[in-house]
Amino acid sequence: MPGEPFTSEKNVSETTKQELRALYGLDKKLHEQYFIYPTRILTKWDFGVSTSKGRPVRDIIAQSFPVSLTLGLTALGFAIGLGIPIGILAAVRKNTWVDWGLMSLAMLGICIPSFTIGPMLQILVAANIPWMNVAGWGNPQDIWLPAITLGLVSAAYLARLTRGGILEILSQDFVRTAHAKGLSPTVVILKHTLRGGLLPSVAYLGPAFAALISGSFIVESIFLVPGMGQHFVNAAIARDEFLLLGVSLFFGFLIIVMNLASDILTGILDPRVRMGKEGK
């Protein structure tokens, strides 16, 4: 990003600038600057102070992350609960009207942007259902609409991934073995295909969850949720370097954790991965 954090439209006196530079170590040599910021994070959990909000970045994250986490978890639960059963059903009824119908529905979820679905939900649903609030945050009624809007796209992707994964497994030889054993189709699906068939979805869950938590600025702005996503956009627009760096680092950390969780889950589902050997 061009400029430095204090080149803003506001008039700041030269002495103030100097003080600010000293505070953040920007007056030091360049190679020294490289180490100041990481050292502060590691030793003091100090991400710096947001220039646009005038508050420590740590506080901003501490305040908005729980909101995003709650919303993200609810949205994820909604996405899993909707997407995976739809995917399984479509795979089992492959190339029937059920399959086509469900997959078109999933495509609809992918193709209609959240900033169209959100407002439409506000008009159509919330006005008629008393236990859903149109916007805001803090009451239990507030979470439904943003969670559904946010989870819909993930649900659609999960449905497609689950369908693909299960179809891939269904075409494998060991499924034929299972049929030859005389197992019922339900047992074949639940016991023999589900585990392998869910692997692509599990791999997707980690990054998806991280994206749900922080990539939700549109939903946050529509439903007035004080989450983390807004800070990305606002910080980038306001050239608030410390805030942007802080939330980005936090987000990167989140992605690593989520990918790790995803990998662990994959290991639990697939013994070949657990053994550290590549399967055929």
Binding site: F174, R176, T177, H179, K181, G182, S184
Partner: protein, 553 residues
């Protein structure tokens, strides 16, 4: 009364491209306690027949169009799915070709073996089922069954997995075992052990077996009676020995004689077409005097103490080839045999400098290929060529046959212009027995045998002297295999080619080779003239290999 009687079974595949009569009016019966072999080449409908019985074919496109299959007083083909499911895995069990992919990789072995018991007997407890499963695993010869029962399939070798499959199929004490090419994917010594196990279990558990295979040797080894299928129809059936001694149908005659055996002495194999079209086959006897020694012959290619090492994923050095020395005289064939993983393929590739040897020299007319630079090697690329196992994978799917043949001709400037190159491509196709009009077609439009002919033509395009044939007939039906072997022979006579013939199939190697080298764990353990090796093997491993070849002995 037979245990299973199939009458006029018809199974058709209905696709957009039309209807394929995969099984067309097939009748045979299975007596109690016998092993019935169903033999046929790919596409003969032998597997489809068995899958039809148990309703295991995907429908659509498959549809059973007619016929009966009487078993225990019921017609299997008319049974609703729910009742058929009670028979599947309980009274009729199945084992399949590829034990690698037929076991569920996500579940433990013990649970998979116990599953049929639990599925068919609601009263049995999980504990009891697992106890019986463990017994069965011991019975099929899994060592340390108690410890290994909780492992996953990928921790077992191919042969062990097939044993697990057999345990799983027989645990419900079925009346019939359908075995679909159960030993095709296995090494010959492992195959011999599995066949022995199947025969023992047949006697012990009193189960009747339908054994489907393309391999006549295997059938001769295990079957009491055989059914020969060809293009969806049964062409001959009867007592195994009678059919082998005195086949009646020309197809069966052809199938039996086009397969090289240890006793084949003719130089050219008869083909199935010869018999089907009623041509009389003249037996051309191979000169019995192979080269007893290599002395007196100047070797065209000499390999000295070749070593090739790979680094495995766990950073260990794998000595794939560990000190191989060979001499091949000009115009002769050296057969290199061994089981999977012995390093024979790597040896072939190292000779062509496709993999970098760790040490050793490859002397071609006294020039060490291993010490040449890329540019210096270029003229030798014309002299040494290779033909692979899978002819489809060895042709670029986006190039026509013409382009594939003209490219090396133009690249090595064997022809001056495109026209000349095309003319050469035409004559190459004629030489390998293909219609030159096919020049503008793509590889996927040809059958497997035709594709291998194209690969031969491409190798010949640069006028080589030496060709490595790497398992180049291993994936083929015997009738096609005979044609390709004959082609290789003809070309050798005409062009004075030298072959390094790599194969796991001892009968084929015996037929084509002048000298044979037996390889095990990266080393050559026996190297002699073909006659000597087969009649008078010295090493114990060679003897074991030869004894394991089904149908010989």
């Amino acid at each position: 009364m037979p245990l299973l009687e199939i009458q006029n079974l018809k199974t058709y595949f209905h696709t957009r491209a039309g209807t394929t009569k995969a099984v067309d009016d097939v009748s045979f019966s299975l007596e109690k306690g016998e092993i019935l072999g169903i033999v046929g080449e790919s596409g003969s409908g032998k597997s489809v027949t068995c899958y039809s019985l148990l309703g295991l074919l995907p429908s659509p496109p498959a549809k059973v169009e007619g016929g009966q299959a009487q078993f225990g007083g019921k017609d299997l083909l008319q049974l609703p799915e729910a009742l058929l499911r009670e028979i599947r895995g309980k009274r009729i069990s199945m084992i399949f070709q590829d034990p690698m992919s037929c076991l569920n990789p996500y579940l433990r072995i013990l649970g998979q073996v116990a599953e049929p018991l639990l599925a068919h007997n609601p009263e049995i407890t999980g504990e009891e089922a697992e106890k019986q499963a463990l017994e069965m695993l011991k019975k099929v010869g899994i060592r340390d069954a108690e410890e290994r029962a909780n492992s996953y399939p990928h921790e077992f070798s191919g042969g062990m997995r097939q044993r697990v499959m057999i345990a799983m199929a027989l645990i419900t004490n079925p009346d019939i075992l359908l075995a679909d090419e159960p030993t095709t994917a296995l090494d010959v010594t492992v195959q011999a052990r599995i066949l022995k196990l199947l025969k023992e279990l047949r006697n012990e558990l009193d189960v009747s077996v339908i054994f489907i295979t393309h391999d006549l040797g295997v059938v001769a080894e295990v079957a009491d009676r055989i059914v020969v299928m060809y293009r969806g129809k049964v062409v001959e059936q009867g007592i195994a020995k009678e059919i082998f001694d005195n086949p009646k149908h020309p197809y069966v005659k052809g199938l039996l004689s086009c397969r090289p055996t240890f006793s084949t002495t003719s130089r050219i194999l008869p083909t199935v077409e010869d018999f089907m079209e009623g041509r009389i086959v003249t037996e051309e006897t191979k000169p019995l005097a192979g080269i007893a020694t290599t002395e007196g012959y100047r070797p065209l290619l000499e390999v000295r103490d070749l070593k090739v090492h790979f680094t495995s994923k766990s950073q260990q050095t794998v000595r794939a080839v560990d000190g191989v020395s060979l001499k091949i005289p000009a115009g002769k064939t050296l057969g290199l045999v061994g089981e999977s993983g012995c390093g024979k393929t790597t040896t072939g590739r190292a000779i062509l400098q496709l993999v970098q040897p760790a040490s050793g020299s490859i002397l071609y007319n006294d020039t060490n290929l291993a010490s040449l630079t890329r540019a210096e090697l270029l003229p030798y690329r014309k002299k040494l060529q290779i033909i692979f196992q899978d002819p489809y994978a060895s042709l670029n799917p986006r190039m026509t046959i013409g382009q594939a043949l003209e490219e090396p001709i133009l690249f090595h400037q064997i022809a001056n212009n495109g026209e000349e190159a095309r003319a050469r491509a035409v004559s190459l196709l004629e030489e390998v027995g293909l219609d030159p009009e096919h020049l503008d077609r793509y590889p996927h439009e040809f059958s497997g045998g035709q594709r291998q002919r194209i690969c031969v033509a491409r190798a010949l395009a640069v006028e080589p002297e030496f060709i490595v044939c790497d398992e180049c007939v291993s994936a083929m039906d015997v009738s096609i295999q005979a044609q390709v072997l004959n082609l290789l022979r003809e070309l050798q006579d005409k062009r004075n080619l030298t072959y390094l013939f790599i194969s796991h199939d001892l009968s084929v190697v015996k037929f084509i080779s002048d000298q044979v080298a037996v390889m095990k764990a990266g080393r050559i353990i026996e190297f002699n003239s073909a006659e000597e090796i087969y009649q008078n093997p010295k090493e114990a491993y060679t003897q074991e290999l030869l004894a394991a070849v089904p149908g010989e002995g």
